[in-house]
């Protein structure tokens, strides 16, 4: 087992900072978010799960997709390619979420070149979870606190040392200077939460689409979008033209794409006023179905990695794990009755 120490990790990161953009978890007023850092001392190490996911490294909250100059002629330009980024301190669930986003943006035609460039430019360095945290349920959706999917490197704390595993060429090259020694070290298994429900397959979800449960569940939803914004796999976006500069005869715009959410009231309202998802019931139901039925049917992976951020963020106490449990119960009941 290749191992390293805290000091060597710090040196290693300091080395990256000299020539790369490094994004890592930092603490701001009690909340843990991923930010670009200037010094390794800014990194927060004592978090359970960050409050915002690292998906901002490959799918920023707002980013220009086109630059428009309107003068006597219209000139269009694409944004420049993103710089290389090291994303440090990624939990295994968040790494799996990148794979879920890849299934839509890269593996399904047409490729989204901007997302693809971001994805190519990042190296994901994971930090293993010693246990499942309070609202976690990664094991329900095919993950694990020590999963290696989607990571270039995974670091696991074992006593005073850190075990280092690499899974890609990029990862192996980068850890060259990191390793301090080979040690006979057993990585303890992470502590798993017990008594979690079993996720039903999309076919089972489809059977329950018109069940009154969705109406009851969504009564407290305030269509606030917080769940989608803290979610590592949600990717719905809006596109707007925004004015950036103005001089005689010339206007400059950027076409921005920005995070949006299907839970927002006006999300599906078309000009003229028609809105097929005009109640919270229809919108909230769509969000769950997208994650557990539509996304896997259309793209392969589930649209949820079990991080539990939405459970903590929802002001109205709507709990995705409860939804999974209820769907399991309703499906069992159907089987018994049917």
């Amino acid at each position: 087992m290749k191992v390293t120490t805290q000091n060597k990790i710090n040196e290693w990161l300091a080395g990256f900072l000299q020539k790369s953009v490094v994004i890592a978890p930092v603490e701001t007023e009690g909340k843990f978010v991923y930010r670009q850092i200037e010094e390794y001392s800014q990194i927060a190490w004592d978090f359970e799960r960050t409050d915002m996911p690292p998906k901002t490294a490959v799918f920023p909250m707002t980013e220009p997709i086109l630059y428009i100059e309107q003068g006597s002629k219209t000139i269009l330009k694409n944004p420049p390619l993103p710089k290389n980024k090291i994303v440090f301190g990624v939990r295994p669930c968040d790494a799996r979420s990148m794979l879920a986003l890849d299934a839509l943006f890269i593996n399904k035609e047409p490729i989204d070149p901007q997302y693809a460039h971001h994805r190519e430019s990042v190296t994901l360095i994971g930090l293993s979870c010693p246990q499942m945290w309070d609202s976690c349920f990664c094991t329900v959706v095919g993950g694990a606190p020590n999963s290696t999917d989607g990571l270039d490197i995974l670091i696991t704390k074992v006593g005073d040392h850190y075990a280092v595993q690499t899974f890609t060429e990029k990862g192996t090259e980068l850890t060259d200077k990191l390793i301090s020694e080979e040690k006979d070290l057993a990585i303890p298994k992470p502590v798993l939460t017990e008594n979690l429900p079993t996720l039903q397959k999309s076919g089972e979800w489809m059977e329950l689409f018109n069940n009154i449960f969705w109406e009851e569940l969504s009564q407290s939803c305030i269509s606030c979008r917080a769940c989608s914004f803290v979610c590592p796999t949600c990717r719905c976006f809006d596109v707007r033209d925004e004015l950036t500069a103005f001089r005689p005869g010339v206007k400059e715009f950027e076409r921005l794409r920005a995070w949006d959410s299907c839970t927002a009231a006006g999300y599906r309202r078309i000009a003229g006023g028609h809105n097929p998802r005009d109640t919270q019931n229809k919108r909230l139901r769509n969000r769950f179905y997208c994650k557990f039925a539509y996304y896997p049917d259309d793209f392969g992976p589930l649209g949820c990695v079990g991080c539990g951020r939405c459970i903590d963020a929802c002001p109205a106490g709507i709990n995705i794990l409860e939804v999974i449990t209820r769907v399991e119960q309703m499906t069992e009941r159907e089987k018994v009755n049917g």
């Binding site: 701001t28 609202s135 606030c224 809006d238 927002a264």
Partner: protein, 288 residues
């Protein structure tokens, strides 16, 4: 005197059994022990209703028929709602602005000892002088009377902020809004925010960019605070809803304090006076 929770449950049960309302909106406990809104339609389910200091989301938000539409072609239902004194002022505001009808609501008013944000008593509650709601159909009272805080100044914490220089204030808010993710949870949780299309999202006229830069985020929050001038009741729902723990109460209550000083107006005082910035009253004089 039965406990607060028993009183709430009994009133709710009576309203439902008598057919006076079709739904009671209160709080219940979720599997993780946190309080969350509950929509009770059956008399037996009233046993789910609870009350504790975690109950900090303004349930009046759910009464607004545009924000919580009753369903296609359904009539506006009669609802009972569990409210704190600050929440009840929102009911008064919405009645004044013709968004609610008093006869459609039964108010279960709580004699309030204060509620928490992030497991700590809200600053507003520390200084609040109003423990009994201004209007109610049923008043829920604790066994021991709630003590009023010694300090008479409901805005002591805002005064502290006012003592900072404008640079210090700007730096403070820049730091706070840096982590705002512009999810609009604050707006959605606020009973005073019920515009069909918020100016922050309008394309025509195009007031502001959707970019997530601090200037844009600051613009949204300050603009929202101004649109709530004279309408904010200080319930703290915006702060309770914010996933990033931004102290929005400091902004909205600062404006509420100025309205009180300039117009002698406290939102929801009575059923006659519309908020000063909503109506034109030629007799109005600024108390400068």
């Amino acid at each position: 005197m039965t406990s607060l929770e028993n009183q709430i449950r009994n009133s709710a049960r009576k309203f439902l059994e008598d057919g006076q309302v079709s739904c009671v909106i209160g709080y219940e406990r979720d599997a993780r022990g946190r309080a969350r809104p509950a929509f009770i339609v059956k008399a037996d389910d009233t046993e789910r209703l609870i009350w504790d200091s975690d109950c900090s989301l303004n349930l009046v938000n759910y009464l607004h028929s545009r924000k919580s539409p009753p369903g296609k072609d359904q009539p506006i239902p009669k609802t009972a709602v569990v409210v704190r004194p600050c929440d009840v002022r929102a009911i008064q505001l919405l009645i004044n602005e013709q968004q609610l009808k008093r006869e459609n609501i039964k108010i279960i008013g709580i004699t309030c000892a204060g509620t928490d944000i992030n497991h700590q008593l809200r600053t507003e509650c520390e200084f609040c002088q109003e423990r009994i709601p201004l209007i109610y159909d049923v008043l829920v009272e604790p066994e021991k009377p709630v003590e009023l805080p010694a300090s008479q100044d409901a805005y002591a914490d805002i005064e502290e902020m006012e003592s900072w220089s404008s640079e210090e204030r700007f730096d403070f808010w820049t730091k706070e809004f840096d982590r705002c993710i512009r999810c609009y949870a604050c707006r959605q949780a606020c009973p005073g925010c019920y515009c069909f299309e918020c100016v922050a999202e309008q394309v025509d006229p195009h007031w502001t960019s959707i970019a997530l830069e601090v200037p844009e985020k600051m613009f949204f929050h300050v603009m929202r605070a101004f649109h709530l001038a004279g309408r904010c009741v200080g319930c703290g729902a915006c702060e309770a809803a914010c996933p990033m723990n931004i102290p929005l109460g400091k902004l909205n209550r600062k404006i509420a304090k100025e309205i009180l000083e300039l117009f002698g107006y406290h939102t929801g005082d009575n059923s006659e006076n519309l908020p000063p910035l909503v109506c034109f009253n030629p007799d109005e004089r600024l108390k400068i």
